[in-house]
Symmetry: C2
Subunit: 206 residues, 2 copies
């Protein structure tokens, strides 16, 4: 029996993963398991197991996939051709992140609030949030990040995520501009705090 070519194998893995992501969006991460994914993808359960040997591998791949999408969205908005206005980077990154969450609020809520359930999932979230903190640091012109600044950046990400989620899930009770202004105002306050100004500098996560 001939082996499928590398490209075909990648495509099949990709279509199984896509089905799993779709299922996670619709029914929550807890529902992502081989049988349901096989049904959704129209393949055998054995094929799902071939690419994702355990339940956790499957769920971690789903979370990684959504996290990568969010990161690419923010990076696309924040990283700009040289000469562009750096002050606007925070606004653009924020705007891109809000749009991303607006498109799939339930899925985002379910995914972002499930991370602690298992170390494999948690690792993906930690990586993602640290990467967002680095993008943010870059966006506001920090070349080095102190431990205090890292705490402040991570705390701000949690605030912005929660604010946007609640705004969307409560049917946008205030104008979008107020939400953006809120997150931006807190970001400025955060950087001026003793927490962000004190302590010794450390490199950004590599």
């Amino acid at each position: 029996m001939s082996q499928p070519a590398d490209g075909a194998r990648r495509d099949r893995r990709e279509s199984v993963l896509r089905a799993a992501v779709e299922l996670g969006r619709r029914a929550g991460l807890g529902s992502v398991e081989a049988g349901q994914v096989a049904l959704q993808a129209g393949v055998s359960k054995a094929l799902v197991y071939y690419y994702f040997p355990t339940h956790r591998d499957l769920q971690a791949a789903v979370v990684r996939c959504s996290a990568d999408e969010l990161l690419a969205t923010i990076r696309g908005a924040v990283v700009l051709p040289a000469g562009d206005d750096p002050g606007g980077q925070l606004t653009r990154g924020l705007d891109a992140a809000i749009s991303f969450i607006e498109e799939q609020p339930e899925a985002f809520a379910a995914l972002s609030r499930s991370a602690g359930f298992h170390p494999k999932l948690f690792e993906v979230f930690e990586d993602t949030r640290n990467a967002i903190a680095d993008l943010l640091a870059e966006g506001i012109g920090l070349t080095e990040v102190t431990p205090g600044q890292r705490i402040a950046l991570r705390a701000w990400i949690a605030l912005a995520e929660e604010a946007v989620l609640h705004w969307v899930l409560a049917d946008r009770p205030v104008p979008r501009a107020d939400l953006v202004a809120f997150c931006q105002g807190i970001a400025l306050e955060m950087l001026a705090s003793p927490l962000a100004r004190g302590a010794t500098a450390s490199r950004r996560t590599p």
Copy 2:
């Protein structure tokens, strides 16, 4: 066969729940299942199932138990005899919450980051965070909470939780006072934002 008295039944349920909470603290919420809990409590698996028919019932009870403890801690610090300084309520509530998290950072992280995994768990978290938002509103003297203020309060809770967790897990790289000042400064900024000042008033959650 005689039924155990109500008191004895409550005690047995309580000791099973205590064992489950202890297990969750040590090994994460994902590890809380009947077999392990029975072992930890020194009772039969059947008895665990008698009190908590499903896996999710057990996990939800564990989360509810920790959440109630946190709420009681904050309430004890915030709700004061009449005539006391209301301005200090936020500081005291914050201080109590930080101490609570300091005592069990891994457990708190694991629990607070697992909520979205299942609707039953998520409900407990939503209830708890809304109750904390109400306590906060009370602490800063709001009798009614607008939708914008609720978003701001919930966002602030997420910020404070993340800041405290990162501070503890990073071995307290800055003085505790800087952390408290950071959370307090953001709380004041938050209340002054257009998000918190605009929109129409609604009652606090009943």
